[in-house]
C-alpha cells in the first residue's frame, strides 16, 4: 500500500476532501464536501491510497459531508471494509441523520463481488464460438429436415382430403407472393436483360457474331437467370415475410392459441404459404423470363439493329429441346425451399421481439443459400442427363 503524502491529500478535489490524522493511536479520517458521483473518480483514487499506518482503530468522521449519494456512500464503505478486513476496528461518527438510511441500505445489502463481464476476446472465446456454431448448425439441419418431413406428411394428408386446404388463405398468399411481386420482379429482370445483352453484344461483336447475342440471352435467361432472379427476389420478399408473420404470431402467443383451439399449426400456417408459393414461383419465373428477354430485345434493337421479328426467329432456333422448360421445372423446388425455410424460422422464434428480426435475417440468408445449392445440383443432374 502506498503511503499518502500531505500534498496528495490536500490536493483540492473540487468537490470533496479526505483528511486523515493520528489521534492517540487511532486514525481519524475526516471526510467533507460533496460525496457524489461527480467526485467519484477522484475519491476512488484518494481513498484507494489511504493507508492505516498500523492504526488498530479507524474512525470515519462524516461531520463535514454535505451531500452523499450511492457512489459516495459505496466508496466510504468500501474503504471501511478494506480496513476491517485487515483486522482494524472501524467506526463512523458525525453521520447526518438524512444519510443514515442510505449507508445502512448499502452496508447491509451489498456483499456482492464487483460484477464481471463475459469474455468475448481471446483464443478460448474464438474456439468456443466456432464450437457452438458447428453444434448449432448440426442441430438446426436435423431440425429443418424433421420439419421438412412433417410438412410433407401433412401435405400428403391434405392432398388426400383437399377440403382441409384453406382456400381463402391460399388466395391471399397467391396475391401477396405472386401478384404483388410482379412490378419489382418485372423491372429488375428487364434491366438484367438489358445488361446481359449489352455485355454479350460487346464480346460477340469482335467475332462479327452479334446475332448470337440472342442465343446467349435465350439460353442463359431461360435456363438459369430468370429462375434464380425470381427465387432470390421471392426469398427476400416473401420468405422473409413468412418468417416475420409467423414469428410475430409466435411472440403474441397466437401460435399457441391455435394449438389450444385444436387447429393444426402446419395445416393453418405452413401449407397455404407452401402451396401458394409452389403455384406462384413457376408463374413468376415465366414472367421473369419474358421480361428479361424483352429487355434484351430492346437492347439488341437499339444497339445492334436486330429487329423484333429477327430476334424472335433467332430465339426460336436457340431454344431447342428442353431449354425453355428447364428454368420452369426448377421453380417448384425453389418455392418449396423458400417456403419451408421461411416457415421453419418463423416457428423457431422465441418469445422476445428481438428474435423476430434475427430469424428474418437468417431465413433470407438460408433460403438464398439453399436455392443456389439446389441450382448447382440441378446443373449437375441436367448435364448428366444430357439435356
Amino acid at each position: 500500500m502506498v503511503a499518502l503524502t500531505a500534498s496528495d491529500l490536500d490536493r483540492p478535489m473540487h468537490l470533496a476532501w479526505v483528511r486523515p490524522r493520528r489521534e492517540s493511536g487511532a486514525l481519524i479520517v475526516a471526510l467533507g464536501g460533496h460525496f457524489v458521483l461527480a467526485a467519484a473518480v477522484a475519491l476512488d483514487e484518494t481513498l484507494g491510497k489511504l493507508a492505516s499506518d498500523g492504526a488498530r482503530r479507524i474512525v470515519f468522521d462524516l461531520t463535514a459531508v454535505e451531500r452523499l449519494d450511492t457512489a459516495g456512500a459505496w466508496l466510504v464503505l468500501r474503504t471501511a471494509r478494506r480496513f476491517a478486513g485487515a483486522g482494524a476496528t472501524v467506526e463512523r461518527r458525525g453521520v447526518h441523520p438524512d444519510f443514515e438510511p442510505l449507508l445502512l441500505t448499502i452496508e447491509t445489502d451489498c456483499h456482492n463481488p464487483p460484477v464481471t463481464h463475459p469474455n468475448t476476446n481471446g483464443f478460448g472465446a474464438l474456439l468456443e464460438k466456432i464450437g457452438r456454431s458447428v453444434v448449432k448448425l448440426g442441430l438446426q439441419s436435423t431440425e429443418l429436415l424433421g420439419f421438412f418431413g412433417m410438412v410433407c406428411a401433412e401435405a400428403v394428408a391434405t392432398l388426400l382430403r383437399p377440403r382441409r386446404l384453406r382456400i381463402v388463405a391460399l388466395f391471399t398468399q397467391l396475391e401477396e407472393t405472386g401478384l404483388n411481386a410482379l412490378p419489382i420482379l418485372g423491372l429488375l429482370t428487364f434491366l438484367i436483360g438489358i445488361v446481359f445483352a449489352y455485355q454479350g453484344a460487346d464480346q460477340l461483336r469482335r467475332f462479327g457474331a452479334e446475332i448470337f447475342t440472342v442465343n446467349l440471352l435465350g439460353i442463359s435467361i431461360c435456363r438459369e437467370l430468370g429462375g434464380l432472379m425470381a427465387a432470390i427476389i421471392v426469398a427476400g420478399r416473401s420468405g422473409s415475410a413468412f418468417t416475420a408473420q409467423i414469428g410475430t404470431m409466435k411472440v403474441n402467443e397466437e401460435v399457441d392459441a391455435l394449438e389450444t383451439l385444436g387447429l393444426n399449426t402446419v395445416e393453418v400456417l405452413v401449407l397455404p404459404r407452401l402451396a401458394g408459393l409452389i403455384i406462384t414461383l413457376p408463374l413468376l419465373t415465366f414472367f421473369a423470363n419474358i421480361m428479361a428477354l424483352a429487355g434484351g430485345a430492346v437492347m439488341v434493337y437499339f444497339g445492334l439493329g436486330i429487329t423484333i421479328p429477327a430476334f424472335l426467329r433467332q430465339l426460336n432456333q436457340s431454344l431447342i429441346g428442353w431449354s425453355f422448360f428447364i428454368g420452369l421445372m426448377k421453380a417448384p423446388v425453389f418455392a418449396f425451399i423458400i417456403a419451408i425455410v421461411g416457415c421453419y424460422e418463423g416457428l423457431r422464434v422465441s418469445r422476445d421481439a428481438a428474435s423476430v428480426g434475427r430469424a428474418t435475417t437468417l431465413s433470407v440468408v438460408e433460403s438464398i443459400f439453399l436455392v443456389i445449392v439446389a441450382d448447382a445440383l440441378f446443373s449437375i443432374m441436367f448435364s448428366m442427363l444430357g439435356i
Partner: protein, 255 residues
C-alpha cells in the same frame, strides 16, 4: 431540505397526438421529495404526460420547468443532456438494451456521463444491483434471460445509475404478480427515502398508489386534479368517484 421551488412545474400545458387534444391547460406542481402518482382512464394521456415532461414529446403549448430549467423554451442539447443526468426513467418493460448484459446496461449512463475507470463502474453497478434486490449472478445475464419482474428491477437499477434527483416510473407494477408488485412498491419507497428522490409515477395499480404515494394527480377532462387519496375519494367527479369507490378501489383502500 425543503425547497420552495417545485421540482416539476407545469403551466397551461397543451398536447396533441394525431390531431386529438390530450391535455388542455394542464397545471401541475411536483414538490421535492414527494411521491406523486398519476392515474387516469385509458387514453387520457398519462404516459404522454410523462413523455412530454422528459422531452420525448413536444407540447403544443404551455410551459414545463424541470429542476428550475425550462423544457419548453430555448432548450439546448447541452442543457438537456445535463438535465438527463439528473433524472432516471423506468419504462414499462424496463427497456433494457437487449444486446448488453444487465451490468453493461447499468454502466451505459456511467460511461456516457462520467470518466470512471472500468473497475469502479463494475463496483457501482454491483451496488445498484443489490440496492434493487437482484442477485449477484443477474449481472452477467442478458435481458432475455430474466423474468419480467427482474427486468423491471434491472431497469430501475439503470435509472438509478447516476443517482438522479427525480425518478420517472411508467406503470412500474403492471404485469407483476401481487407479491412482486408489493416488493417493488417497498423497494421504490425505500430508495425514495434513502436517496431523497422525487418520484413521478404513472400507474393503474390502486394498491401501489395507497402504499407509496404522498399525493395523486388524476387526469380528467384534459387537466389534472391533485390531492391525497382521502381527499380524492370524496371528489364529485364521476370517474374519480368510480375509481376510488369501485369494488377494487374500495377493497384496496379498506385494507
Amino acid at each position: 431540505m425543503t425547497d420552495p421551488v417545485p421540482v416539476i412545474k407545469i403551466r397551461g400545458l397543451v398536447t396533441k397526438l394525431g390531431g386529438r387534444v390530450l391535455h388542455d391547460g394542464l397545471d401541475l406542481d411536483v414538490e421535492r421529495g414527494e411521491v406523486l402518482g398519476v392515474v387516469g382512464g385509458s387514453g387520457t394521456g398519462k404516459s404522454v404526460l410523462l413523455r412530454t415532461i422528459i422531452g420525448l414529446n413536444r407540447p403544443a403549448g404551455g410551459s414545463i420547468e424541470v429542476l428550475g430549467q425550462s423544457m419548453t423554451d430555448h432548450l439546448t442539447e447541452t442543457r438537456l443532456r445535463a438535465l438527463q443526468g439528473r433524472w432516471g426513467v423506468l419504462f414499462q418493460d424496463g427497456a433494457l438494451f437487449s444486446s448488453l448484459t444487465v451490468a453493461q446496461n447499468i454502466e451505459v449512463p456511467l460511461r456516457e456521463h462520467t470518466t470512471m475507470p472500468q473497475r469502479l463502474m463494475d463496483e457501482i453497478a454491483a451496488v445498484k444491483l443489490t440496492m434493487v434486490g437482484l442477485p449477484a449472478d443477474a449481472a452477467m445475464k442478458y435481458p432475455s434471460e430474466l423474468s419480467g419482474g427482474m427486468r423491471k428491477r434491472a431497469g430501475l437499477a439503470r435509472a438509478l445509475a447516476l443517482d438522479p434527483e427525480i425518478l420517472f416510473l411508467d406503470e412500474p407494477t403492471a404485469g407483476l404478480d401481487p407479491i412482486s408488485a408489493a416488493q417493488f412498491d417497498e423497494l421504490v419507497l425505500n430508495l425514495q427515502r434513502s436517496l431523497n428522490l422525487t418520484v413521478f409515477m404513472v400507474t393503474h395499480d390502486i394498491d401501489t398508489l395507497r402504499a407509496t404515494t404522498d399525493r395523486i394527480a388524476v387526469l380528467v377532462d384534459k387537466r389534472v386534479k391533485t390531492g391525497t387519496i382521502a381527499a380524492l375519494a370524496t371528489d364529485p367527479d364521476p370517474w374519480i368517484h368510480d375509481y376510488f369507490n369501485g369494488p377494487r378501489g374500495h377493497a384496496a383502500l379498506a385494507s
